[in-house]
């Protein structure tokens, strides 16, 4: 019974990693690609770590796996936000079918190509 659960989590984690890589490969735009890479990639890694904890059992394995999941989910959005902010400020092109830029409409970022502070 436990072997089936571990097998399911291993397959699901690898499948979500494959979905993330497929999104990075196929999506039309940097920001949409980053959506696939950060969310699906982190979810696949979390499923693999759950499979690890269920397979080995014991307190040490569970603590390690949960700590890694927590840190990964804390650090992945930080990296994604840094990339998105830098790419938006450097003027990376959007997908041509997107057609709307709410951040520019809101007027909170005055210019898109050069940053004045820092």
């Amino acid at each position: 019974m436990m072997v089936w659960i571990v097998s399911f989590f291993v397959l699901a984690g690898a499948f979500f990693g494959l979905v993330a890589a497929l999104g990075v490969f196929r999506m039309p735009d940097l920001f949409i690609r980053m959506h696939a890479a950060t969310k699906a990639g982190a979810f696949g890694a979390a499923l693999m770590l759950l499979a690890f904890a269920i397979h080995f059992g014991g307190l040490r394995s569970w603590i390690f796996s949960l700590v890694i999941i927590v840190f990964f989910y804390l650090t992945t959005p930080v990296a994604a936000q840094a990339i998105a902010r830098a790419a938006y400020r450097r003027g990376v092109a959007f997908w041509e079918k997107m057609g709307v830029d709410r951040l520019k409409e809101s007027g909170e970022i005055p210019e898109r190509s050069h940053s004045k502070e820092d």
Binding site: V3, A21, L22, V24, L30, R33, F64, I83, R85
Partner: protein, 97 residues
């Protein structure tokens, strides 16, 4: 043959997961080589770090060595620093797209 002494569904699913990870790493590597801007390459490298974490955990299950997950902990802790450093550098002075 390490797959042979695994219980029934686990050996098959470990082989399938290895194939999934190989295909995923190749697709991300194609995006690293081909990406139009430097930011695409950074996103793909970040994804490769996450995939490497999964591969290390897969090896820990496969070779029955729970100490391998220490390397996964290190990747989860410091893997994002390179991404943040690259994006801060490119945000400030371009660095060539």
């Amino acid at each position: 043959m390490p797959f042979a002494d695994m219980p029934f569904p686990l050996g098959i699913s470990l082989i399938l997961a290895s194939i999934f990870y190989v295909v995923a790493l190749v697709l991300a590597l194609v995006r690293v080589v081909r990406g139009p801007t430097a930011f695409d390459r950074i996103v793909a490298l970040d994804l490769i770090a996450a995939l490497c974490l999964g591969v290390i955990v897969l090896f820990a299950i496969h070779f029955d060595q729970p100490v391998f997950v220490d390397a996964a902990l290190i990747i989860a802790l410091v893997g994002f620093l390179g991404t943040v450093a690259f994006s801060r550098f490119l945000e400030r002075d371009g660095g060539g797209q």
